[in-house]
Amino acid sequence: MDRSPIFEAVGVQKAFPGVLALKGVNISLLPGSIHALLGENGAGKSTLIKIITGVHQPTAGQLRLDGQAATFGSPRDAIARGIGVVHQERNLFPRFSVAENIHLERLAMSYLRPVDYAALNRAARPWLEALDLDIDPATPVSELSVARMQLVEIAKALSLQSRVLLLDEPTASLTSSETDRLFTILRRLRDDGTSLVFVSHKLEEVQEICDRVTVLRDGANACESRSMEGVDRKQLVQMMIGRSEGAGAWRHRDRRDQPEVLDLAGVDTALGHRDVSLTVRKGEIVGLYGLVGAGRTELAKAIMGQFAVTGGEVRVNGAPVKIRSVAEAIHRHRMGYISEDRKSEGLILQHSVLANAGVPIWRRLAQAMGSLTDGRVRKVASPFLTKLEVKTPSLAQSVGNLSGGNQQKISVAKWLAANVGFLIVDEPSVGIDIKTKAYLHDLLRELADNGTAILLISSEMPEMIALADRIMVMDEYRIRGEVTNSGVYAEISHRIMDRIHDAPQPAA
């Protein structure tokens, strides 16, 4: 192709204390194209995005804009040079109006020129219209739905007339019709000459809309910016994870004759779940699949007693129970929950490995007057830490200093040490490397084989299909159906998506 790239990153390296997040990555973006940036969690996508948008500065390597070397000292610099971004996390100010959110960058040019809200609203309208968003620009963002907030963010990025626009997981919280509308707009932008970067886990979408692709693996290029032509899904996956999808690891197990460990019958919760019924038997791995925002994590927390169950019945080992607190779930019913958000809900990062691994068993190990020595905790916990091959200089090391994989092993180890009979595992492979992920999968299977009942929550279809015996599909805080896993990716993924899309759409 004879088009010369608008933007290039050449040999970009980025070191954080203790990690080399990017080890010399190249990417080149052409005008009028939609470029997929793929890679597993932890492969370095976010870091690369942050470097391109000026949040981080590269440790080595070069950024080029129109062939000229460029450095972005701050997000402002990048914005000024025509690089816009829609971040994965929401970056809107809820109490500001839609128009003001869209135009905040432009206000940032001066400190004291009074804001003309009428003009701002007028100026915002075209961008909203471009996205077919029928909102009054004067509406505070806090009154919008999550999907609309997402679109406002895109409108905001568009309004900057960016020549390069990065979209980090823009469809994560959109319905399929919203996604389609977004794609129409993206194509239009592409045809106008914008260079778009599309980051997504949903390979179907990538294949649908992207014409070029860069894949990162372990902080390096698994493929340098190339055309999507002739690349099929299998190849993409292979580039991302370094091998073909691990569907082969799944093996058929039938636990239908085992006793029920957890049984929800028509459960309603204070968080809005309605009529949720599901059963997890001894030794069984039940998958709970759904999109972001479907209410899976919330269900897990309601099961654990953090939020109230307002209707229906919860039975643990056959006996109806009312779990009033997480402590009760853990200590009385031997339940455990591995959070998806390891850093803010799973582990206490500033505390030691030993302290983290021992939390659930402290009460059990306490002696007279509640006294407890590290020695007692170590005796119980360290065999599990050893078994899981947690790599740490010592048990006194702060967990925050360890890698994501080791952190995840510790969050598993603490429940092993607590000897739970029922374990909820929420997005177990977020932010950990391929090898640990495979190891974790083996471990979960082994746990199940030894009789632990596991409820697996995952948005990663391959993971679900590799592990689960049965898959419950959840959408909008309801169970939409159940799929018995056969281990065949194409079939199961199709059946799951059907459950979500065929569900009657209740009036919002």
């Binding site: 948008t53 949040v55 701050s74 997000p75 402002r76 914005i79 971004v85 971040h87 929401r90 970056n91 809107l92 100010f93 809820p94 109490r95 500001f96 003001e100 905040l104 960058e105 206000l107 940032a108 001066s110 400190y111 004291l112 020129r113 009074p114 804001v115 809200y117 204070a270 968080l271 809005g272």
Partner: protein
């Protein structure tokens, strides 16, 4: 009906309602309450306290807190009085000097917070001690008496009816602050940074500069308050500002400010000050033990945060 519903959602509606009810109730019990002199006293208290509350409010807006509001106010007050007595500066120059001191102290807070990344609480606790110490070191806890007649007259003069001149600067500041937080980019930046500093940075707002500006404004407002107190007391008393801390939080909180930042209301804060002043006054009026003023202030804070919490809960529908 919908109009009323919309009104009830604004921050100032609740405090305004409370103010009106309180005025009616107290007036019905004591005819003296709305006497001209009493109103004048009420307005004098409001004039100073509103500035104190704004000084804290602007910091609450960026999601921090400023323990040194009183110390800055006190330092500016004695600078003002001292400059006139010791250096013989004319009042306008001394005023400028005092306001610059306030601005400088505030900016220093902001700079320290920004470059060290240490929480505003610790930094302003340290500077509280430093500013107060400088105040005491200069004055040795003795007041400056050499206040020119002009300043004293200003402190005692009435503009029209019971409205004292001292209220004029406060009303001006109120208007400017309202306009700044509503209409000026710098005010919007302050709120944006308070709401989500990460996102603000990504939107091209210089978070550091905004934090420093907010603290400088806070210092300036505290300084104005200090100067007004000097005019009102007619002496430069070193203890000025010692008891501002609780009030400075009470009024913004009663006015619906969210301590996490990103949302404050100038009008509602002003009404918060009015409510506190009315209640303080009423306690004296009914010869209720003045010691109970503190209790009432504390209960008001709790009630206000409790109500805000409820309101926020109702707005998002459930927990």
């Amino acid at each position: 009906m919908t109009n009323l519903a919309r009104l009830s959602r604004t921050d100032w509606f609740g405090p305004l309602l409370a103010t009106i009810l309180a005025v009616l109730l107290i007036q019905s019990l004591s005819a003296n309450f709305l006497s001209a002199y009493n109103i004048q006293i009420l307005l004098l208290a409001i004039a100073v306290n509103a500035l104190v509350a704004y000084s804290q409010m602007i910091i609450i807006a960026i999601g921090q807190m400023n323990l040194s509001v009183g110390a800055i106010g006190g330092l500016a007050a004695i600078s003002f009085a001292g400059a006139m007595e010791v250096w013989g500066l004319p009042a306008p120059l001394a005023l400028t000097f005092a306001l610059l001191i306030g601005l400088g102290c505030g900016a220093l807070n902001g700079v320290l917070i920004r470059i060290t990344g240490i929480s505003a609480f610790v930094i302003t606790l340290a500077t509280l001690s430093i500013f107060k110490g400088i105040n005491l070191g200069i004055t040795e806890a003795q007041p400056f008496y050499g206040i020119p007649e002009g300043v004293k007259r200003f402190g005692g003069a009435v503009l029209v009816g019971p409205v004292p001149w001292l209220l004029v600067p406060t009303l001006l500041v109120t208007a400017i602050l309202w306009f700044t937080l509503r209409r000026l980019p710098v005010g919007r930046f302050i709120l944006a940074v308070g709401s989500n500093d990460h996102a603000a940075g990504l939107s091209g707002i210089s978070v550091g500069r905004t934090v420093i500006i907010a603290h400088a404004i806070s210092g300036l407002l505290a300084a104005i308050a200090g100067v007004l107190v000097v005019a009102r007391l007619q002496i430069g008393q070193p203890s000025i500002g010692d008891d501002w801390l609780i009030l400075s939080f009470a009024a913004p909180v009663i006015g619906g400010a969210i301590l996490a930042g990103g949302h404050v209301s100038t009008t509602a804060t002003f009404l918060g000050v009015v409510i506190v002043a009315i209640i303080t006054q009423a306690l004296v009026l009914f010869s209720i033990d003045p010691f109970l003023v503190q209790v009432v202030l504390g209960v008001l804070i709790l009630a206000a945060v409790g109500l805000n919490k409820l309101r926020a809960g109702a707005a998002t529908g459930g927990r």
